[in-house]
Symmetry: C2
């Protein structure tokens, strides 16, 4: 097959793995498309991006504009959830090439009678697609282009802007080259902007020593909502295994009355589709979901594909597990470590098709009960293509459903889970503490290809991670960590109330909580108020007001001459929201330095006119007349969140 | 379809456009393959690159090795011309995972009776593929793994190196994941290492005012061979158009006797398959080719797809040209410039299939006459996909044939021609003069993806380019330009004898030669000798001896504290040839500075032992005891070419 096309389109971005994976966006987010586009010879070319929602019949077309060095660009907005397709088209624009040539010849005082005659065919080519008014204009042109007596008039019209625009708007595309169709997956806004709170429902009781219930959780909903959280994530709420149950502080021998780990799922009382009776009934759970939703809080459920030794599957589906030569089931291990209370699923099982289907059924079951967000436990220990399949299956009929990948493992594995379909991802933020570490990590997330598919969710702590820098830390440090997480990343979460109550006693020399709720019930005074809670509440409120903080990728770190101060500028797609954040990394001393305003990036700056900033945290406003401005932060309130040009 | 595989392979390199284009190599060149490879969970994985020549039935397999951060690597050599395919495979290695686990458990003093029994199945899985000796060993293992009385012996054998190697060498691959097949095109060495000389055959006569002939050219062959050139390129040797023929210095009115531009191809005497009668006969041309080949010189022919107004095609194939409303054929123009002696081919013609076929026939015709190298004139004014088709067609049956793209245009256009199949490419070297410009440009060619498909050919001058820096330049400058071209790039060429005779009179304020041979015959004393010729000859000789200079990509610029001195280290694949080049960029003054040896890159360096270097240019040897060494170059001989560790 001979390919007669003359325009080449290369290095289209953003594209992941040649289109194998969709890039990700949320509703009303911009897509910036770049491509190298050029033809042979000196003819002018035209190029467009065509895009459409999977359910739409017609393509939308936006014309690309050439920049430096054959690099073309255009941006468009995606408006609906689901899959979009887009492709790039390029063609030789013979009409504009003709106009460009005749213009140069006229400037060179050449006689262009023959060229005018050539122009007629370009006019005829687009004639039918025009309005009556434009047709009349072209009729006129055809007449004068053919008439030597109208030569002066003809050459002036031949190079007119009006003709240029008609040729530009109605290109007579021939031998169009086109890329393959690339995919975009568009989520609801929450995929990009979410504020998570995690607590153990069994610790929800007001009475010490009593197992918390969903009813108790209901009472805590106002507290969660008032702090400004919109997503409430619970560890697994299913029956907890009784065989090999773990005791307090992960001991292998559970004492009578020990409640075990909620991740040891399944017992004689049921499995992944059942509710742990001590928490209440399915009805209670559904009511909690409903009440939470009314307050603007969604309940996120844990999806942990593993079982306790007494999970019903072990008997019903022995083929889903690995059996040892001694006739026992293989429990989880990472030699020499053993996890006898947990049996991993054997994904290489010959019965894997039933297993995948049953996993899908579990998700569909809980979606039916009202759940739309899943925090997936250890997804990196299950096959990547399994996740690709199950997430695509779910999203096809339930595009609102979001998946957070709880994978703290090798970077490429975490990235791959995001590529394969996870909506959001846990990150290394938990361990990134210094200015250098934070900048380097955020640049990696927001300035590389990862920005197109990996939506970070920054957690200062989790039930599994009591980071060394928070152990025994003061209030200032806690404020810093929440402020950094919640302003660097638009998805953020904390495990409470240990975070806001600054409970951080560890197992010795480990990043584990002492008396972890993973293995026992805790008792809290849920009515306690403190300054940290106020600051968290304030920050969450600012996040709700400012779109700049509802996205992660538009970020630019600012020069500030102090390694204990970190400063960055964030903005939304149209720069109607511009924010400047400064955080001190010193929990004990006042820190000061001069910070450079990113003047060339700001939406509105005029020489001589001050940049007006308003600090949400203090309510103070400033007029900055210089590019470099003095900043001072004290441990008591170690951050500014400035609105620019307010 | 459910994909049960567990290993992911991502970011394979080198791969161009997801495998749409082959990467390029020459015979016996190395291919370094990198990929991100990882599985879910903690199991050990295995990975291989499989490669084969297109005509081979069996794949060769080389095992990849893991490096940092899930990045795997292996290299292999391609040994035959033509297409190779390669792909990357990954799988979970259950046997090695088992051995790794049992080792950790034994170290942890766990009893592993059951694990030993599990090991038996891994032994059984590979048993059939082993030698009798290895089978006997595995029989023994099976026995002791099943025998509690041999426990101590069993656990020592379970973790043995011998068992490890058997498992490693005979992996029991299951659920193997594999990439698509990527392509490599392997050329003969000349694609990467060639030394070109260009002259106008019509200027070959010893007698002034007489049109040179192929017979005259025969007499010049020893001169070309002795200077060390292996490729002799002639401008077109076809009949020259008589209609609208150009006169001297590109004047539009040819005087009687003016010979015209050889690129104005075709007249009543014939077209692209004919020989200009004044040069001689086809028989003469074939004899010249034969005699040249005997001296190790290949004749490269010009392939210029354009015609003079009196080329036979204009009458035979009017559909291949663009006709204007006034009934004339469209001549070449780039408004306001006009090229009335040249008619471009109209590739959008409906008769394009015949046109493509005829173009192919022209190449095949000259290949039949003994031509194996084509220098393609202005390929960027013909469609990219045409070149892709015609080059693939030719190479399928004639893999020895090489194509040099004469495109001096936008960077991405030049790159695309190389991607689409051109063997070598003209470059911007001609205009890169300062140290910064040279380093930046060579880094772009050798450290980006271009290294995989674009083989630069560095020309200090061409009949079209008499660069400003050579106009009136002294001998030192000419030496510098040839030295840079011939050591930075393994493909190099000059247009002579104007280059080595330092003839550089220009048209005023233009990079054009005055009295250019493009439009008239020149007369030279072909027996003239000078120092520049000696230096060129010496450099060409070193290039033939040192493989480091027969490739372009292995280059590292060295720190040298003087902007007038440029220094770089080059090496071949196995570092059996290591070269250090230093060139002064000052044609008038002595320049000195200290240069840093790239110690960590050198094949053999021991602390305390000097680096021995031998300067090919002077015959002097030095022992360098320090990392930084003093260099001084004078205009008379402004370069060192050091052999390292001689």
């Amino acid at each position: 097959m001979l390919n007669q096309r003359r325009v080449v389109i290369d290095y289209v971005s953003p594209v992941l793995n040649h289109g194998e994976f969709p890039i990700k966006r949320v509703v009303n987010e911009v897509v910036n498309v770049d491509a190298h586009i050029f033809g042979d010879g000196h003819d002018l070319i035209g190029a467009s991006v065509l895009f459409k929602h999977e359910n739409a019949r017609k393509w939308n077309e936006v014309r690309m504009k050439p920049g430096f060095n054959d690099e073309w660009h255009v941006s468009f907005y995606v408006e609906k959830q689901g899959y979009y397709e887009y492709k790039v088209e390029g063609w030789i624009d013979h009409a504009l090439t003709w106009q460009h040539g005749i213009k140069r010849k006229i400037e060179d005082r050449q006689r262009v009678t023959s060229e005018l005659l050539e122009g007629v065919k370009f006019i005829e080519a687009i004639y039918k697609r025009l309005s009556a008014d434009d047709r009349a204009y072209l009729d006129h042109l055809k007449k004068i282009f053919n008439d030597e007596n109208s030569y002066d008039n003809a050459i002036s019209e031949a190079v007119s802007d009006r003709l240029y625009h008609l040729f530009y708007i109605f290109p007579d595309k021939k031998l169009v080259n086109s890329t393959k169709n690339y995919k975009i997956y568009v989520d609801r806004l929450k995929a990009r902007f979410s504020t998570w709170y995690e607590f153990f429902p069994r610790s929800a009781s007001e009475k010490e020593g009593v197992h918390g219930t969903f009813k108790d959780c209901e009472k805590l909903l106002p507290r969660v909502a008032e702090m400004g959280f919109d997503t409430l994530y619970f560890p697994p709420v299913h029956p907890i295994g009784e065989v090999n149950r773990k005791g307090k502080n992960n001991s292998t021998n559970a004492a009578p009355g020990d409640v075990g780990s909620p991740w040891g799922i399944g017992s004689r009382l049921g499995g992944h589709k059942d509710i742990h009776p001590e928490l209440g009934s399915l009805k209670d759970f559904k009511l909690l979901i409903k009440k939470a939703n009314k307050m603007g809080v969604e309940i996120a459920m844990d999806f942990a594909l593993q079982v306790a030794p007494d999970h019903p599957w072990v008997k019903e589906h022995p083929e889903w597990f690995k059996w040892r030569p001694d006739g026992t089931v293989q429990y989880a291990e990472n030699p020499p470590k053993k996890y006898q209370d947990i049996l991993p699923i054997h994904f290489e099982s010959e019965g894997y098709e039933d297993l995948w289907q049953e996993s899908l059924d579990i998700l569909l079951y809980w979606i039916d009960q009202g759940i739309n967000i899943f925090r997936v436990d250890n997804p990196h220990t299950k096959p990547f293509y399994f996740w690709n399949w199950i997430i695509r299956k779910i999203k096809k009929d339930h595009p609102d459903v979001l998946f957070l990948a709880e994978a703290f493992t090798n970077p490429k594995v975490m990235q791959q889970l995001a590529k394969q379909g996870f909506t959001q991802s846990y990150t290394y933020f938990t361990w990134r503490e210094s200015k250098h570490e934070l900048i380097e990590y955020v640049e990696e997330l927001t300035k590389t290809e990862q920005r197109e598919y990996m939506r970070p969710n920054f957690w200062p702590n989790t039930p599994d991670i009591n980071p060394y820098h928070l152990q025994g830390a003061n209030e200032s440090k806690y404020i810093q960590r929440y402020a950094l997480a919640a302003t660097l990343s638009s998805n953020v979460g904390i495990y409470g109330p240990v975070f806001e109550y600054m409970i951080s006693a560890p197992l010795p020399n480990r990043e584990e909580y002492l008396n972890s709720e993973k293995f026992q019930i805790a008792h809290y005074d849920w009515n306690l108020k403190n300054n940290l809670i106020s600051v968290i509440t304030k920050i969450n409120q600012i996040r709700k007001e400012e779109e700049a903080l509802q996205q992660t990728n538009h970020i630019k770190f600012c020069q500030i001459e102090n390694d204990n101060l970190i400063a960055f500028y964030k903005w939304n797609d149209d720069k109607s929201s511009e924010i400047l954040v400064v955080v001190s990394l010193d929990a004990y001393n006042t820190q000061s330095g001069t910070m450079q305003l990113p003047l060339s990036d700001l939406k509105e700056t005029e020489p001589g006119r001050p940049v007006q900033v308003y600090d949400f945290m203090t309510g103070n406003s400033y007029n900055w007349y210089e590019e470099w401005n003095y900043i001072e932060l004290q441990p008591g309130l170690p951050l500014h969140i400035f609105k620019i040009n307010k």
